[in-house]
């Protein structure tokens, strides 16, 4: 257990342990039907949102670029994932294989989109970058709304509904063909294929990728660019390259999360991935702490469950949700409360001396 002596490594393994324990508890409860019905349907979305939060934290927390269009990458992952899974299932592939391949395909397409969008976006910084990513997020949503995709024995048929008058019939599918994405209606009538176990595995992969990346040469370079761009350049780091790496890896993880998310719903329209979703994920990241992956995991889980748990307040549900959010933000930033919590922590040697 020598490697646990390193403070960062220990912190990483606490995060892994936390996720594994949480998974085992939920898995046990699920097996014994102890989970209330209103939460059972939330399990896969929670895992997808956790992966989204981890992925966005890499861009916002580690690389320091405020991205407001992350739901766009999620939707790319979701739709490419659905198309892949449905085509594979139509060809007779087993469900698990279809799920794994669809997640990989979702990640790859989102990464490609991340790279293409990254070229213009990463020339900007700060507020400008935020606004342009927001715009790209909306563009992706609109493009997806125009998309009509179907599959039959001849392969994929794709139509762009640019004039607004194209319908599924324009795909000219054969009799046994399946229309997968129907424009503004989105993907509907798709059998769900995502599972909670797959969600757990994806969280672990995302955590390992992001945490190991941050603790490596590449991650240090990304953090250095965030802390001081001019100094990072002066020690021979190519700023654009490392911001791009963070952006593309993050987009790929968001695409994987999207594919998982998409496979959980039999009806999915592009409006699910609008600006509100991007902001929701940003709330997870900010609440969990910038650069703090464990915080992101906890915040994403709690804030996805909370609206469901608040259902008994019926009409006042979102009001209570907002108040809880504000209270948590105030509490985590208040010096008095931080000091109060710090009292219960064992003091470090250096600090104890300094306080005397």
């Amino acid at each position: 257990m020598n490697f646990l002596k390193n403070k960062q490594t220990r912190s990483d393994f606490i995060t892994y342990g936390l996720v594994i324990v949480a998974f085992l508890v939920v898995f046990f409860m699920q097996a014994n039907h102890m989970i209330p019905r209103m939460f059972a349907g939330q399990l896969v979305p929670i895992t997808a949102y956790i992966v989204m939060a981890i992925s966005l934290n890499l861009v916002v927390g580690v690389a320091g670029d405020l991205s407001l269009g992350h739901a766009g990458f999620m939707s790319i992952g979701a739709y490419t994932g659905i198309v892949t899974a449905v085509s594979m299932q139509a060809a007779g592939a087993p469900q698990t294989l279809a799920l794994v391949v669809s997640i990989v395909v979702g990640a790859v397409f989102a990464a490609i989109a991340g790279f293409i969008i990254g070229i213009p976006v990463l020339r900007l910084r700060g507020d400008y970058l935020a606004i342009v990513t927001l715009a790209f997020g909306e563009i992706i949503k609109e493009v997806v709304t125009c998309l009509i995709v179907g599959v039959d024995a001849h392969g994929l048929h794709v139509v762009f509904n640019l004039r607004g008058n194209a319908t599924v019939n324009d795909l000219h599918l054969m009799d046994n063909g399946i229309a997968i994405i129907k424009g503004a209606q989105g993907a509907s009538g798709v059998s769900t294929y995502s599972t909670f176990v797959a969600g757990f595995v994806l969280i672990m992969i995302a955590l390992v990728v992001v945490l190991n990346l941050v603790r490596s040469r590449t991650g240090r370079a990304i953090e250095a660019v965030r802390d001081n761009r001019i100094a990072a350049e002066s020690v021979g780091i190519s700023v654009t390259k490392y911001r791009m790496i963070a952006f593309v890896v993050s987009a790929a993880l968001a695409g994987a999360a999207g594919a998982l998310f998409g496979g959980n719903f039999s009806q999915l329209s592009a409006t699910k991935f609008d600006f509100n979703t991007s902001i929701l994920i940003l709330v997870f990241v900010v609440l969990g702490g910038l650069g703090n992956m464990r915080g992101s995991v906890i915040a994403a889980a709690v804030l996805t469950i909370l609206p469901e748990a608040l259902r008994e307040f019926s009409d006042y549900r979102m009001l209570v949700y907002a108040i809880v959010l504000i209270l948590v933000m105030i509490c985590t930033n208040s010096p008095q409360i931080q000091g109060f919590i710090a009292r219960f922590k064992p003091k470090k040697k250096g600090e104890a001396e300094a306080n005397v």
Binding site: V208, S216, R220, A224, N228, E233, V235
Partner: protein, 283 residues
């Protein structure tokens, strides 16, 4: 003092003087600036700047406030692209290179207003400096392949060795931004050295230091030159430091070189005295 070992094998014959006129430089100089200049919309911030620095020379760049000293550093490190002239680093032309490329060619610098990666630890700051020395790909890092462990171990050892120049190993795990001012300046020098430069540019290294710290810094600058066998160019307002350790001094005023020479020559130069103190009233 520090535990830093003085390695005799690494000794380089020095000083090979170049700023001082009428002396041959035996090898290719570390730096040659030929008619270097930059204009900002008609204002010549630096004009016709010619300078040669030998392989192991400690050179000083002094001048009144606003003379263009930091602009020269920014030209050398390509923060600004020069509008005139050429910069040769170890005989290689640096035109068209970016800031990070020119660092890989062998120029490292520190900044007048300290620029550390303040949220990172002291050790990580140095490791960022070792970025192009201990190389492995991001994928090897994510998968923690053997090359990751090998290079991380080497980077750790090298970082500790470099920190020991200034006796800073005990602060390795402290946050860089929480260090006292003097230590932050020293850390910046260590980080610059980590990039394995052949020319080190120090922008006011003694700013904000007390006299005893300055004296210690002087010793360390000379020691760095002796140990690493590199050329050092420094901007400094503390004349005791400049006159004591610089083998050649270049004086800049309003973007123009007004004098070059040894400390003694500069101290007795009328033009320099005039630039600093103003013209004597004619009686």
């Amino acid at each position: 003092m520090s535990k830093f070992e003085f390695e005799k094998g690494k000794m380089v014959p020095y000083p090979s003087r170049a700023i001082v006129p009428d002396r041959d430089v035996n090898e290719t100089p570390a730096l040659e600036c030929i008619h270097l200049g930059i204009e900002f919309g008609g204002l010549k911030a630096v004009d016709d700047f010619n300078l040669t620095i030998g392989k192991t020379e400690i050179a000083g760049l002094i001048g009144p406030n606003g003379a263009g000293k930091t602009t020269v550093f920014n030209l050398l490190t390509k923060v600004y692209q020069p509008t005139n002239g050429t910069i040769l680093l170890n005989g290689q032309d640096t035109s068209g290179k970016t800031v990070s490329q020119v660092n890989r060619m062998g120029i490292a610098r520190t900044f007048q207003n300290i620029r550390l990666f303040s949220s990172m630890t002291v050790e990580d700051n140095v490791k960022v400096g070792l970025h192009n020395q201990e190389k492995y790909t991001g994928l090897e890092g994510v998968l923690r392949l053997p090359s990751y462990w090998k290079h991380e171990k080497q980077a750790h050892e090298r970082a500790m060795e470099l920190l020991s120049i200034f006796d800073m190993e005990k602060h390795a795990n402290d946050q860089a931004g929480s260090l006292p001012y003097g230590a932050q300046r020293r850390l910046e020098i260590v980080r610059a050295l980590a990039t394995n430069p052949s020319l080190l540019l120090l922008d006011e290294p003694a700013a904000g230091m007390n006299p005893s710290e300055t004296a210690e810094l002087m010793e360390n600058i000379v020691k760095i030159r002796d140990t690493f066998g590199i050329a050092i160019m420094l901007i400094e307002h503390d004349m005791s430091l400049v006159m004591n350790i610089c083998e050649g001094i270049c004086v800049l005023s309003f973007g123009k070189v007004i004098a070059k020479g040894t400390a003694e020559e500069i101290q007795n130069n009328e033009t320099v005295i005039e630039a600093y103190l103003g013209k004597k009233k004619e009686a």
